[in-house]
Structure formats: structure tokens, C-alpha cells
């Protein structure tokens, strides 16, 4: 079950984690991209921190506040995809005080759909979409969210080791990319350690 209170706890922890792994996220991204993934994640979560005073009992509104915060400070693909996802999620759970199991699965499904749509990418391209896909797969079977999310993020990263990155800035490196993790998937794994 997700409500305002535990959403805040999650966001606080994610913010801490984004500070801790700031350099790691940037350098994972720098290997194949522009090296701003740490900035993107930190700035987005920082802006959410500033705005969480406005959180209220409507989870839809809370997600919208998060989306707007992310949009305000983040100007890179990851941030944009997350912001779009949060916005679409917000519409779906509008008016809800708390999200039950079904809602939680829906949240991830909407995020996945948004990312595939907006990112014009498909499963298997080695992006955060693949991580989300595995999370959905797992939490559909088990309500042990903390465990499932953490293990899905780790597993997804492992599954794609040795595969080519096909989207984002990494695409041009072709075979070279097989030896790198997708920075977004790497970041999700590290962030999921809060669970």
C-alpha cells in the first residue's frame, strides 16, 4: 500500500541515495553519453524535496507535484521520461488517498508504457524500460514489493550484460556498448537499494 506518508519516506531515501551515488551515475553515463545522469536524478529529487510541503492526501496530486518538480530541474532523457511517467500516473490515480496492490502494479505499467511510447523504444533495447518490465513481472506475483523491486533491478542489469545498448546516446558505439551497463538501468539498481 502506498500513501502520502510512505511516498515521502521513499522519496527521502531516494534523495539520499542520489547524493551518495551522484558521481557514480554521472560517470556511468559519461562512458557512453553526456555524463549528466547523476545531475538529472539529484536535481529532480532535490526539487521534489522542496515541493513536498505541498503534498496532500490526493496521491494523484502528489504525483503531479513530483512530475512538475522533475520537469523543472531536469533536462535530459531520463528526467523527461520520469516526468512524463509521473504525469500519466497522476492522471490515473487522481483522487486516490492510497494505492492498493492493483494501483501499484498500474503505476509501474503506466511508467513502462509512457517510456516505450515517449522514448520510441522497445523492450530488449537495454534501457530502464527493461528494468520496469521485470519489476512489473515480479510484483504481479508477489506483494513483497521491497524485495521484488530490489531483485528485479539487480536481475535486469545482469540479464543485459553483454548485450548492445540500442537507444539513447550510447547507440553509436555499437559493439563497444556490450561491455557497459546501461546507465539508467545501473542507476535504478543503485536507487532500488533503499528498499
Amino acid at each position: 500500500m502506498l500513501n502520502k506518508e510512505n511516498l515521502i519516506i521513499i522519496l527521502d531515501k531516494l534523495f539520499d541515495q542520489s547524493k551518495k551515488y551522484y558521481d557514480d551515475f554521472n560517470s556511468a553515463d559519461a562512458k557512453i553519453g553526456d555524463g549528466d545522469l547523476g545531475i538529472t536524478i539529484l536535481h529532480g529529487l532535490e526539487e521534489i524535496q522542496k515541493n513536498k510541503v505541498s503534498f496532500n492526501n490526493d496521491m494523484g496530486e502528489n504525483f503531479m507535484i513530483c512530475s512538475k518538480a522533475f520537469v523543472k530541474r531536469s533536462g535530459s532523457s531520463f528526467g523527461t521520461l520520469i516526468a512524463f511517467s509521473l504525469m500519466n500516473i497522476s492522471k490515473k490515480i487522481d483522487g486516490k488517498k492510497e494505492c492498493d496492490h492493483h494501483d501499484i502494479v498500474t503505476i509501474f505499467e503506466i511508467a513502462l508504457k509512457t517510456i516505450l511510447d515517449r522514448g520510441k523504444t522497445k523492450l530488449g533495447d537495454k534501457t530502464i524500460a527493461d528494468t520496469l518490465n521485470l519489476i512489473i513481472h515480479k510484483i504481479k506475483k508477489s506483494k513483497n514489493y521491497n524485495h521484488e523491486i530490489k531483485s528485479a533491478c539487480t536481475k535486469a542489469l545482469e540479464n543485459f550484460k553483454g548485450k548492445k545498448i540500442l537507444v539513447g546516446r550510447a547507440r553509436m558505439f555499437e559493439d563497444k556498448t556490450t561491455k557497459f551497463d546501461d546507465p539508467g538501468m545501473f542507476a535504478l539498481k543503485k536507487l532500488s537499494e533503499i528498499f
Binding site: 559519461a30 562512458k31 557512453i32 553519453g33 553526456d34 555524463g35 549528466d36 545531475i39 520537469v71 523543472k72 530541474r73 531536469s74 533536462g75 535530459s76 532523457s77 528526467g79 523527461t80 521520461l81 512524463f84 515517449r118 522514448g119 539513447g168 546516446r169 547507440r171 553509436m172 558505439f173 555499437e174
Partner: protein, 330 residues
Amino acid sequence: MKKIINNPSNFVDETIDGLIKSHPNIYSLASDNTRVITRAIKSSNKVGLVTGGGSGHLPVFTGYVGKGLLDSCAIGSVFASPSVEQIASAIRNANNGNGVLCILGNYGGDVMNFEMACEIVRDEGIETKTVIVADDIASAKREEKEKRRGIAGMIFVFKVAGALAETGASLQDVFEIAIETNSNIRTLGVALSPCILPEAGKPTFEINDDEIEIGMGIHGEPGISREKLKSANDLTDNICNRILNDFNLTDQEIGLMINSLGATPLEELYIVSRRVVENFNKKNIKIFKNYVGRYATSMEMAGMSVTVLKLNNNIKENLLAPTNCPFWTN
């Protein structure tokens, strides 16, 4: 590398304010958004041209707002995409009922945000079309040209589409010439040193004193190969060869742009330009006009890029058409 700045978090806003205060006859701040610049004298009877992207690349993007070029620009933070809201405002400000053409570089965040903004303004009744400039041959194979990054070549698209728009041409016509221009452009660059992000206060990447990186992106994205610093001629030959392998230009007429990423001085650009001209002359490529200078930069990054634009009479005419913009000399 030291910076003449105030509080780093005001860097972008002060830059914009400076641009407007310095050239009040050219630029104006949008009334509804502090990160959107429009022409000081808005046009009333033409297709609107909009761009947007991260700060730190002046004259790209904002600088090219002006008569004969763009109508408005959405300005992101340093090296970061502008938001959907900012882009939507830029589009609204550029629109005078004749539709809007968005011209942007191929970067994930920009592309997605423009797409979203176009959807929003479409619901308000503004017709838009989008051209995503993809000229950097280092960033994807020839067969996947549309996946390439957009760098200095973008300016040629602004110029050509901007000139046609000024004639009162339809959105479809302006869109088509922009698409054609984009497909006629190839760019390859080399980075020698990083720049410093004002907020981070440290270099964007590291590179040894005796190394250069061919094909490095303007945000420090890795390029094709890191090589030893070599003579200007060898470097230029390498760049020319790669461009000509990608794009057959023999017996063609072209526009050329030799662009500094910032710190590399004009003297060095001319040493490079000299060799490009010599190489191209040997291949019987006719250089119609050569633009040498700082057209698309990464603040004080050292390095340069070579852009070729294959010409036809239509593109040529629009390339030469008059402008009113501090960064374009007719």
C-alpha cells in the same frame, strides 16, 4: 580556465538578460516565460520558426532568433533540455496563425519535450511540424543517419528555412526545405579540452595534454576515437576523409562551416580551413561560401568542427538571403 560569472545558479538567466539588454532591437523576452526569447519585432504573416535546447552553446540556440532566421527559442539550463512548458510557450510566441516549424538538435530530452509541447499546442489549434537535425557523422552509421546528434549543421537549417519562411511560404514548404537541408548536411568535430559547467565548477571530461578526441559531442559525449594530438593538416585530412566517405560531394557545390567550439582561435580555424579548401578543391568540390568562426560552441571548450552543406539553387538563394541577427554576417 576561469569564468567571469556571478552566482553560478544565475548563469543562464543573466546570460539571457544580457542578450536582451545588449540587443534590444533584436531580442525580447516572452511575456509569459522567462526562458523564452522572441524577436523584438514580431513577424505577423509567416510561418513561425522555433528552436530550443540547452544553454552554453551561444550563439546556438537563442542567438539565431532574428529576422531571416528564427522567431523564438526555448532555453534550457546549461547543456540541458528546456521543459515542455517552455517549448510550448516558445511555439505560442512564434505562432501568428500560419503554423510553426520546430527545428531542434537530435537529443533525447529535447526531442521528447518538443514532441510533447507540440501535442499540447495542437490542442490549442496551433499546427506544428518538426525537423530534427542530425548532422554529426560521428554519432551513428550512415544507414542510421536519423539517429545522429545535431551539432553545428543546425545553423544552416535555421538559415535556409528562416529565409524561406520570410517570403511567406507555407508551413509545408518551409518544412520540406528544412528536411532537405538537414539531409544535405554532414558535420564532424574534434575536441581538445573540456569546458567547465558553471554550477559544477569542474571540467566536463578529462583528456590528456597530448590527446584529442575525434567526434566528441558538444556535451563531452565520447567520440569515434581518442588519438594523439597531430598536425592540423593530418587532423583536417582525417576529418575530410571521414566526411567524404559518408557523403559523396565530388563535383558538387557546397557551403562550408569551420566552427570553433569556443577557445580555439580564428588563427587555428583558418589553418584548418585552408587545408579543407585545398582537399576539397582536389576533389573538384566547389566552395560557394565559407563560414569560419564561432557558430555553435560549448562555452570555452577547445576544438572545432567542419560542416558541409550540399547546395542547390534553392538552398543557395535562401542561404544568402538577408538577416538581422548579430551572429550572422551576410
